[in-house]
């Protein structure tokens, strides 16, 4: 094989900077050459803090499904490092392309949690302002966000202001044609777009082995001429280091970057799913032991960066955050039936005006009969 292609291939093993018990690894020469710099305590502390808040938020959201306050909730517990580190490493000017699973990432980006939960609450589709937050609506049709992110990255490059696009996608999503087309467009147009695959080993019930025979999903990059890496997705330090390197690569005009993060979804696909139908409890137990939050905590306690006071503080912050979410989500949202017609087009068609009038008359009737009843 030509050595000219070597740099497009991922490391043979997922990049790891922290062992499962929270000590620094001795990075391989490959890892050192690729410039995955071990992050500072300060940066890791920020990641840890956001993971703690994110996980509390995630638990709160799951609880809200039980109270019927959310139509459905796909938890990302266990994927916390992936949800937090790549997002914290973004700049404000960058665009983020999340999926339905990435609510924790949305709040890590600073979005209002109630706006972030709008889709799953069922009061509207996207509840936040994509332009203001530079965050695309959460994408449900698998992989369709990949060409969007390629186009957005290319658009930012055209504007020349240094922004990049971060595209999240699941392992299952990589099988869709749009993943392929998105990566190829990004490569051909040299777009500053980073594709971040959260390989949580399942697509609902379909295990990774049914999804691909690739040695690792990161080997898909070379087929597009895209620089690729695989990383231990439960190692917050490694995730942070690799995404940062990817962002540098993209911002330097060297084109897109593909990252595969090996991680695990500890909960079922959503609250409506029964994961016991397709996976063994001991697999879950095993992955529970690789908890990214615990791992980073151990490390930071070890360096002295994380003090008991700080821990208490953050725990309180997380509780407060969850309480606020709970409180606000328990209020019934306002949904105006006639708003259904407001944004189908910038200007409603005559046909929609007719239909709006019909609905308005029905509401009037209903209201009238309520009043007389």
């Amino acid at each position: 094989m030509s050595t000219g292609v070597q740099h497009l291939l991922p490391c043979a093993e997922p990049v790891q900077l922290l062992t499962e018990d929270g000590t620094r690894t001795d990075p391989t020469s490959e890892v050192r050459e690729r410039g995955y710099a071990f992050p500072s305590d300060e940066d890791l502390l920020a990641v840890w803090r956001q993971m703690v808040i994110g996980r509390r938020f995630d638990a709160q959201a799951t609880a809200l499904t039980k109270q019927g306050r959310l139509a459905v909730y796909p938890s990302s517990r266990g994927q916390d490092a992936c949800q937090v580190a790549p997002v914290l490493a973004l700049q404000e000017q960058d665009w983020f392309f999340p999926t339905y699973r990435d609510s924790m990432a949305l709040i890590s980006r600073g979005l209002d949690p109630v706006e972030a939960l709008t889709l799953l609450r069922g009061s509207w589709h996207c509840g936040y302002d994509p332009a203001a937050t530079r965050t695309a609506p959460q994408c449900t049709p698998l992989a369709t966000q990949a060409p969007h992110a390629a186009g957005a990255g290319h658009g930012m490059a055209r504007r020349g202001e240094g922004g990049l696009a971060l595209c999240f996608i699941g392992d299952g999503g990589t099988s869709e044609g749009d993943f392929h087309e998105g990566l190829n467009f990004a490569a051909v147009f040299n777009a500053p777009t980073v594709f971040f695959v959260q390989n949580n080993r399942y697509a609902i019930s379909v295990p990774l082995a049914r999804q691909t025979k690739a040695p690792s999903l990161a080997y898909k990059g070379i087929g597009y001429g895209i620089r690729s890496e695989q990383v231990d997705g439960n190692d917050p330090a490694a995730v942070l280091a690799v995404t940062r390197a990817a962002y540098e690569h993209a911002r330097a005009g060297r084109g897109p970057f593909l990252i595969e993060a090996h991680t695990y979804r500890l909960e079922a696909h959503t609250n409506a799913d029964d994961a016991t139908r397709y996976r063994q409890a001991d697999e879950v137990t095993q992955w529970s032991g690789r908890d990214p939050i615990a791992r980073l905590r151990t490390y930071l306690v070890g360096t002295g960066a994380l003090t008991p006071e700080r821990e208490e503080q953050v725990a309180a912050e997380a509780e407060e955050y969850a309480a606020d979410v709970r409180e606000r989500m328990n209020r019934e949202p306002e949904v105006a039936p006639l708003s259904l017609f407001d944004h189908v087009y910038a200007e409603p068609t005559p046909q929609l005006r007719e239909q709006a009038a019909m609905v308005a008359a029905e509401l009037e009737d209903a209201h009238g009969s309520e009043v007389t009843a």
Binding site: A71, V72, L119, L120, R121, G122, S123, W124, H125, T140, P141, L142, G172, G173, S175, E176, G177, D178, A203, I204, S205, V206, R210, Q211, T212, D273, R277, Y278, P333, V335, P337, S339, L340, F341, V344, T349, Q351, L352, Q355, V359, E362
Partner: protein, 337 residues
């Protein structure tokens, strides 16, 4: 007789087809061990083996295209699109290959493929989970489009679909999955291309299909009780082939017609039905054929879906617009024939 849900009827139809013909294969996303997100394929992998009912990678065009290749080798694939809107990635395979292969090859290569597709809403699903996409498929020559509304039809039409030598888009109304009937399976109902008069009446015909059949029946009852209108309800059962005979005979008898369809109205199946009825029954009509359909908007979020869906009230309001007071001279209208 025992109580059978729509979902159970479908599951049984798959079972009986798998048992009867070794060439039947069931595959798609999560249809294996999980039994499908709606559990329609529950237990099939356990009972027939991984070889006969299996999961695929997540790629709908791939699933449809893989089915084409298997059909070329004499298999009879029964594939699932997990939700209606997730059938769109397979659109090209369905429209340009599955639908056209028999025609392209002068009848030498048929495509005995069933595309199962849970469709329509009313279940509180978030965006992309409640589309009504039957209009796209019904407008595509070469496809059969089947929309059962009862557990008996769910069973019988699915058996017929799997036995068919042509492709069938088999649309399962999600909201009816848990509806029940007293029923002994197996059962054979009327074949493709026959609509069913689900309720007889003399004043007006409601034409409905799939998820709106129960609504039409409820509306008919209320109309009878509250307004004294005698309402006939026709369930299309299959959109393609279309049963002009039954529909036209009913409307010629009643002189009035309302078409009920859950999909966004513009350019959909509702328009086709209304146009056909108006063309064929022109001189029998005492009032224009009206439609009750979904609004011409993207399917709304759960908290607003009731505003979108054709409900009993909207059907009743529409029946009320059929110019009952005018008492048009139908004799004279008939004379212009």
């Amino acid at each position: 007789m025992s109580t059978t849900t729509f979902a159970q009827a479908l599951n049984r139809a798959l079972r009986d087809s798998l048992a009867e013909d070794d060439n039947v294969l069931v595959f798609g996303e999560d249809v294996g061990q999980l039994g499908g997100v709606f559990r329609i394929t529950d237990g099939l992998t356990a009972d027939f083996g991984e070889e006969r009912c299996f999961d695929t990678p997540l790629a709908e065009a791939g699933i449809a295209g893989f089915a084409v290749g298997l059909a070329m080798q004499g298999f009879r694939p029964v594939i699932e699109m997990q939700f209606d809107a997730f059938g769109y990635p397979a659109f090209e395979q369905v429209v340009s290959h599955i639908a056209k292969m028999r025609n392209r090859t002068q009848g030498r290569l048929g495509m005995p493929i069933v595309i199962r597709m849970p469709f329509a809403g009313g279940i509180g699903g978030v965006e992309h989970h409640c589309d009504s996409s039957e209009g796209y498929y019904a407008h595509t020559p070469g496809l059969h489009v089947v929309t059962p509304a009862t557990p008996a039809d769910a069973y019988s039409l699915l058996r017929e679909a799997i036995a068919s030598d042509d492709p069938v888009v088999f649309m399962e109304p999600k909201a009816l999955y848990w509806s029940k009937a007293e029923l002994e399976l197996p059962v054979t109902t009327e074949p493709f291309g026959r609509a069913a008069v689900r309720r007889e009446g003399t004043d007006v015909t409601l034409v409905a299909y799939g998820p709106q059949v129960p609504n039409a029946l409820r509306a008919a009852e209320v109309a009878e009780q509250e307004e004294g209108w005698s309402v006939e309800v026709v369930d299309l059962r299959t959109i393609v082939p279309f049963d002009d005979e039954t529909v036209a005979a009913s409307v010629r008898r009643t002189g009035r017609c309302v078409v009920v369809s859950e999909a966004q109205g513009f350019g959909g199946v509702g328009g086709e039905v209304a146009a056909r009825v108006a063309e064929r029954c022109f001189h029998s009509l005492a009032a224009p054929v009206l439609r009750v359909t979904g609004l011409d908007i993207p399917y709304p979020p759960p908290k607003l879906e009731h505003t979108h869906l054709p409900g009993v009230d909207r059907i009743l309001d529409t029946i009320a617009r059929l110019q009952w007071d005018d008492q048009p001279d139908t004799t004279h209208l008939a004379a212009t024939r």
